[in-house]
């Protein structure tokens, strides 16, 4: 490296060591077994009691992590050029990343509590294309991040929309309040998973409580016979209620941590969200890069009458990353319909994404036949036959699988549907909850029509629209209808003069 070259390379603020600390700890945790094995071996070999071993191990680990973080910071350099940003990193394995501004799809920033006090942010570049090349710029000032964003998106704006650059308008679309936090917490699936983990522990906890209660009662010289079944049930119910309450509180806490003061703004043609209690997360997505708009409603959300809205942009070939998804965790159907034309380009929005709309067209009921037959009847009778041979008449209970699957088939048929106009299509599906996906015809990548033997006999077909963000299926519609839709979509795509990304 020549000295002239050297001058161009910048180092970030020393506070970036914090970022590398977290990163190293994350990597260590991910590969916990491999990375901690040598340390563990060392500790086993070391003479001494458990406490001093643990202390020594902790000190060793902490030293390694801190040392690694400082080294990572020392070796981290970046350079901003006219059309790209270069990042050099790596202590042992050197890596140089060259991110072209034109390839950057979005710039996300993150700010933890310490960084917030110092006015620093970590910038993450969201790029399309090869995975594993996502870049981070830790611990830069907010004004630097803003300037960088300006530079990168400004690059885009001046060439695309001249009018827009003249009057950049920042419009607040949505702000979540504390009630929404509780809604997010209630519909959080992770709480349920946590509950499943804790359930086995509860039994042990119950035993422990019983012991404690028993000894307490004994010490107060009360007759054990007084502790009747009712009291026992009451205690267990109380424990369960307490655990659910604690889980709820955790869930609410998590919702506040992630989404406190969550707001969505429209900045010219860029959608931006910001929120979080200790660490502020900021995400942005270019409106024209949105491929599909998905309105989802889980089973709890059905009861809460709320939805989750996600906008997806093109995924890179090898792996899907959550960074390509813009999420609004809680919206009403009415508000989603208000956002719909804004997010999905001005030509869309005459349709609704509300799954309860009457405008959805049904798909053919023949859709149910295959499911009832091959997911219901066949496995149920096979299982019943096997289990009857094993354990006699109780084995026939397996036949219950058949009505259950039939019910599921009926439900998913009932909830499947689609509606379209000249520019976009909205597809609905669901079993317990609902999901509607909206997309613009002109952004379709390819179209496939598939027919099984049975569908051919009934003159039906399934249409699959492949987007850059995944595919959407319209199953069991009339063959002629599917072909007409396909031909129309092809016409729209082929005559489109606009970019799809």
């Amino acid at each position: 490296m020549s000295t002239a070259d050297h001058d161009l390379w910048n180092r970030t603020s020393p506070y970036a060591i914090l970022f590398f600390l977290v990163k190293i700890i994350r990597i260590l945790m991910k590969n916990a077994v491999q990375s901690l094995a040598p340390l563990f071996a060392l500790l086993v070999a070391y003479q001494g009691d458990l406490v001093s071993k643990l202390i020594l191990g902790g000190i060793l680990l902490a030293t390694i992590i801190v040392f690694g973080a400082v080294l990572s910071w020392l070796f981290f350099r970046y350079q901003i050029r006219d059309d790209s940003i270069l990042i050099r990193s790596g202590v042992i394995k050197k890596k140089q990343l060259d991110i072209k501004f034109s390839r950057i799809q979005g710039i996300n920033t993150e700010q933890n509590l310490i960084y917030r006090a110092l006015g620093l942010v970590t910038v993450a570049f969201d790029t399309a294309g090869s995975s594993g090349s996502e870049g981070n710029l830790p611990a830069v000032t907010r004004s630097f991040a803003d300037a960088l964003r300006e530079k990168i998106s400004g690059d885009d704006l001046t060439t695309i929309e001249d009018e827009e650059t003249l009057a950049p308008t920042q419009k607040l679309l949505l702000k979540l309040d504390w009630r929404d936090m509780i809604r997010i917490a209630l519909s959080d699936r992770r709480a349920l998973i946590l509950f499943a983990f804790i359930a086995p522990l509860m039994e042990q906890l119950g035993d422990r409580v019983e012991e404690v209660v028993e000894s307490a009662i004994q010490s107060e010289t009360l007759a054990i016979s007084q502790l009747n079944v009712g009291t026992g049930a009451l205690i267990i119910a109380a424990i369960i209620a307490l655990i659910i309450l604690i889980l709820m509180l955790f869930s609410i806490g998590a919702a506040f941590l992630r989404f406190h003061d969550f707001e969505v703004t429209l900045d010219g043609r860029t959608l931006r969200s910001r929120g979080g209690l200790l660490t502020t997360h900021e995400h942005s997505m270019d409106l024209q890069k949105i491929q599909t708009l998905r309105l989802q409603q889980g089973i709890v959300q059905v009861w809460l009458k709320r939805f989750t809205l996600t906008a997806r942009q093109a995924i890179s070939g090898r792996k899907q990353r959550s960074g390509k998804v813009f999420t609004i965790p809680v919206v009403t159907a009415e508000f989603a319909d208000k956002l719909h034309p804004i997010l999905l380009a001005p030509e869309a929005g005459r349709l609704t994404q509300n799954p309860r709309s009457e405008r959805f067209q049904k798909i053919s009921p023949y859709y149910m036949r295959g499911r009832i037959l091959f997911l219901g009847l066949v496995p149920a009778s096979l299982a019943a036959a096997l289990m009857y041979g094993e354990s006699g008449p109780p084995g026939l209970l397996a036949l219950l699988w058949f009505p259950l699957m039939s019910l599921f088939a009926w439900r998913s048929w009932k909830r499947a549907g689609y509606m379209h106009d000249d520019d976009e299509i909205v597809c609905r599906s669901g079993l317990l909850g609902y999901r509607t996906v909206a997309l613009l015809f002109r952004k379709v990548q390819r179209v496939t029509i598939t027919q099984s033997r049975y569908q051919r006999r009934k003159n039906l077909a399934s249409l699959r629209l492949f987007m850059a963000s995944g595919s959407v299926r319209v199953p069991y519609i009339g063959h002629a209808n599917a072909r007409l839709l396909r031909d129309y979509i092809l016409y729209r795509v082929e005559s489109s003069q606009q970019v799809w990304h």
Binding site: T159, I160, Q291, A314, I315, G317, R318, V444, Q445, R446, V447, T448, I449, T450, Q451, S452, R453, R456, F466, M467, A468, S469, G470, R483, L484, R486, D487, Y488, L490, Y491, V493, E494, S496, Q497, Q498, V499, W500, H501
Partner: protein
């Protein structure tokens, strides 16, 4: 001058009256040969093992019967499946159909194609064949694979598709 004539739905070009191009005839022979090699690779060790080890005559006969049926099916399958495959190159897109039980027709507009790839295995080259793969955004592997093309045709198609894909200059 910008023109935007209204298009009646009935006037949209359909796929009813297109002529499907079939794959190279040599491809059927290649697939049959490949399947035959597969059968031999499996049948020879099984045959040797069942003769060395004392296997009762009835299971052995059943095994051979099943083996012969599978081999016959494998041999006949290319003759059934391959005629169902075909492609059409139109002015603005390419269509590909396939399937015996589940039949599908895929359409890729040229202005969505990201890149094109030709590949050929040593077997393919012996038979002067090649595989054409078309890639669009968001897909993982090749989004459209047309195998069993004559290598000259494949090269011709590649150039044509590239030219079409490149010619569709997109205006923002």
């Amino acid at each position: 001058m910008f023109q935007n004539p209204e298009i009646a739905l009935a006037d949209l070009p359909g796929t009813e009256d297109v002529t499907w191009q079939t794959l190279d005839a040599a491809y059927k022979r290649l697939r049959q040969l490949q399947n035959l090699i597969l059968v031999v690779i499996i049948a020879v060790p099984v045959g040797i093992l069942t003769t060395i080890n004392p296997v009762p005559i009835i299971p052995r006969l059943v095994l051979w019967a099943v083996g012969i049926i599978v081999a016959a099916l494998l041999f006949l399958w290319p003759g059934i499946a391959l005629p169902k495959r075909g492609y059409v190159v139109r002015d603005k897109d390419i269509l590909f159909r396939k399937g015996v039980v589940w039949q599908s027709v895929t359409a890729i507009p040229f202005n969505r194609i990201q890149h094109v790839e030709i590949s050929s295995t040593p077997f393919d080259r012996k038979f002067n064949l090649a595989q054409l793969q078309l890639f669009t955004a968001g897909g993982s592997s090749g989004d459209l694979k047309i195998d069993g093309l004559n290598s000259a045709v494949a090269e011709q198609l590649r150039l044509f598709v590239l030219e079409k894909a490149g010619a569709t200059v997109e205006h923002r």
